[in-house]
Symmetry: C2
Subunit: 500 residues, 2 copies
């Protein structure tokens, strides 16, 4: 990674704890929206990493998520080309408490490492155009942050969107300009406006979309939390002092200790408040940098509309979908055949194991579906049938009481961990590529159409020695087939717990 462009003292904090329930069934608890790669083939969080990494010194990229997603996110990013997860600092919040506690914790944590630390807080699940304007905007924001400002990044609206929050830009701040970019005072924060108001904002020209991106010195974040807390201007801002104090208490511990009972209880006791409400709406040190970049918060399944051109009847159909006489339908099928007949204004999302059919004006309520499924214990809420791994990926093809079938794809030169299972046997059939199979110390090379048997207790390892992707069909047989029946003896990524 070329770091000649790095901004000294700048740390990026990518917020990656979101569950993305509104994107079900494309997103799942263990593969939330930030891991979706349908927008251009690269996941949203990978894009976030690629966007900021060139501006950082090594070691200054932090991903803040939760305990449950820690392994999944690490595996996901490890599977991306050009991302070296060894240089990323993965952190788990003790529990989800919205962005004020999260940003405070990150700020206190960074201050422990570097009293001069500056931070850029980035959502992990948005779409944003990068390039020279983006880089200039980050650099200019850092200049303003060094002067003590909390700099929000505001996007010039391109339409009268009612689903976003807005920031009104005030007067340009002296000396903070580069090319066409000007850092301005932030006069006002507005939540999602109605259509008429949004139209006025668009015409007026001084309102910007609130992107959720923030640049500030870590010390300013904590001092502003404290000072607005002391003023108690609004109920939400009155919690600033306690949030800052608990953040500093945790920062004195190691991130592993954040997950111990006491720290977790402390953090859980904090109010669940957005940083916008706790600080930005009331602090006088807030600035906004208006930029004209293509941006979307990918907030609901309606965003799928961006994936293709509408047909003559206003349908946007992506994937294996055949329509007769429908109007205004958004359809997305990852693989299976979906046929539609005489429908109006629906959204249909089809995945291997679950299908959602919803009225288009109810997409914000997909979370109700997810809640109901969770209450019913539906496994389709937790995970999909496929998982990315640092060595490749696997897909569950069939699950029965006493056996299950997976397709396992191993990237060239990669191998799974050396492992054994107590309760299941595995039958492997190589269907593409060349496998290296290790069993109790003995190694064999298997071509396509060859097979291997792994009895319980055998120390075994599957690797790809070829230069094309290896595909193996695995039939596992046993009374207990869960992923946690695994003993790892060695792993190329140092993984211990979790699943293979």
């Amino acid at each position: 990674m070329d770091t000649s462009q790095a901004i000294p003292n700048l740390h990026a904090v990518i917020l990656a704890g979101g569950s993305g329930a509104r994107f079900w069934p494309l997103s799942r608890e263990l593969s939330p929206k930030q891991m979706l790669d349908i927008f251009g083939g690269v996941s949203l969080i990978s894009r976030a990493v690629h966007r900021i990494a060139p501006l950082l010194e090594p070691g200054n990229l932090h991903v803040l998520t939760n305990e449950r997603l820690l392994d999944e996110l690490r595996n996901h990013l490890a599977a991306q080309e050009d991302i070296d997860t060894g240089t990323i600092d993965f952190l788990a919040e003790p529990t989800a408490r919205n962005t004020a506690p999260a940003i405070a914790l990150a700020a206190a944590y960074l201050l422990q490492q570097d009293p001069e630390a500056m931070m850029i807080v980035l959502p992990s699940d948005h779409l944003l155009e990068d390039g020279p304007v983006w880089e200039s905007a980050v650099r200019l924001s850092c200049d303003a942050a060094e002067g003590g400002a909390l700099v929000t990044i505001g996007l010039t609206p391109t339409h009268a969107e009612t689903g976003y929050g807005y920031i009104r830009a005030g007067r340009p701040m002296p000396g903070l300009a580069e090319g066409e970019l000007r850092v301005c005072g932030a006069d006002r924060f507005v939540e999602k406006p109605d259509a008429e108001t949004a139209r006025r904002y668009l015409e007026g020209g001084d309102y910007l979309w609130n992107s959720g991106m923030l640049v500030a010195c870590a010390a300013s974040v904590l001092s502003q939390l404290r000072s607005v807390g002391r003023r108690k201007a609004t109920p939400d801002s009155s919690h600033g002092e306690i949030i800052a104090r608990v953040a500093e208490e945790l920062a004195a511990m190691t991130p592993a200790e954040w997950l111990a009972r006491d720290a977790r209880d402390r953090y859980t006791s904090l109010p669940s408040v957005p940083f916008d409400k706790a600080v930005l709406e009331v602090s006088e040190r807030v600035a906004v940098l208006p930029v004209s970049l293509s941006w979307s918060d990918v907030g609901s399944l309606l965003s799928l509309e961006k994936l293709a051109e509408a047909d003559d009847r206003g349908n946007v159909l992506v994937g294996n979908i055949l329509d007769v006489d429908s109007h205004g339908v958004i359809g997305y099928s990852a693989d299976r055949l979906v046929a539609t007949l005489g429908l109006d204004d629906l959204i249909i999302v089809d995945t291997t194991d679950a299908t959602l059919v919803a009225a288009k004006d109810r997409t914000q309520d997909v979370r109700l579906v997810v809640e109901a499924l969770r209450a019913a214990g539906a496994p389709e809420v937790v995970s999909s049938r496929s998982s990315l791994r640092p060595w490749g990926s696997w897909t569950l093809l069939m699950k029965a009481d006493r056996f299950q079938i997976k397709s396992i794809e191993v990237l060239p030169g990669k191998r799974l961990s050396l492992q054994s299972h107590e309760k299941r046997s595995e039958h492997w059939v190589v269907v593409d590529g060349e496998a290296v199979v290790e069993r109790d110390g003995e190694t064999a090379t298997l071509a396509a159409n060859e097979s291997a048997f792994i009895p319980p207790g055998t120390r075994h390892r599957l690797g790809n020695a070829g230069d094309t992707t290896l595909q193996v069909i695995e039939v596992a047989v046993g009374d207990y087939l869960e992923e946690d029946d695994i003993v790892r003896f060695e792993d190329d990524w140092g993984r211990e717990g979790g699943t293979e």
Copy 2:
């Protein structure tokens, strides 16, 4: 089978050529509506066989279908308990020409075997209550048929249905009564009426639903075709003579010869006319026997409504479906999870490989979807992922360019044919039950968690020696994986062509 109740000279002709396109994706070209078993767990054609077989002497049950469905239907019925396909006469029409040519061909064919033959023509894809009333109705119809009548069976309407045809019953025919049953003259045939007319019919009490069931002497069928043809009362009836003549020409050949070019061309030249229009609406020998039996022609996907009680919001949801805030939705899911949100008056049908979402008032147009899919070459129109076989069933789990995975279930005591493949290898993993595997003359018994490899060219056979169902996962690997790569050396059902 107990045939002590058999009616002398009675032959049943089950019409089983229907493609059932309106039931897609539950029905497919190779598993049409008559093979659907969702209504009570037994297929519609199995019910038809069970309903009439006790009233027939051995050898008098004929299934008339088309060439393409012949093997599928035989396999399907062979897989049913209590049906001995060895006693069923499977016939293939040269081509589909509607019911007038089909019934004429069956009549001429039966007359060749038995100049006294009486026939009962039965649809294969309807739901009908059986029991003592049904049996009495058939016997009484036969009495009337012996006197020369063409007896239709009319169902007493239970609601003002606009989707059925109606028959108006006239005066009771003297001497033709049993219990409450009376054979009457048939005064009038009416096609699907409007709602107001249907309501009047229901109130009037003399209109009956036209079930499509007919009882007549084979000789009467042909003589009536000829005599109405001579009168040329309507355009449709004017074809009677040519239909009767071609039917007799074909009946002079063997059923195998019907499929040869000349016979097929002769038959294809016939007009595609329903028997109702060609004969029943114009003949004076037509009677109707009104019966009060529960009946449905299962004519469209709306019939799925009968599968369960509606919920508070009028939704009928069968299978793995979770709904939030929908109204009037009919949902059927065979297996996968379907979630619905805020929908009105839709029908959703989900199967392993295809999903249909349609406006409820468009279910008659599902055939448009099927036509469009056929034009696009979609394999989901032709067959589903599962097939019943005389020895059990198989399900395709995954299909790729150079390999495919099937789950194969073999019934206790059954075995597949002794066969070999030229172009593919097969890897078998037994996951349940006990397999007998024969390879080039050597036989081995495999328990669950054991596997076998079948290289190309190996004469092999898979059987179930245990008393529980055997389940085997098969991974087939090769450049060519189609079902026609099979050489059969021996088969317990004498099968030669087609697929295993």
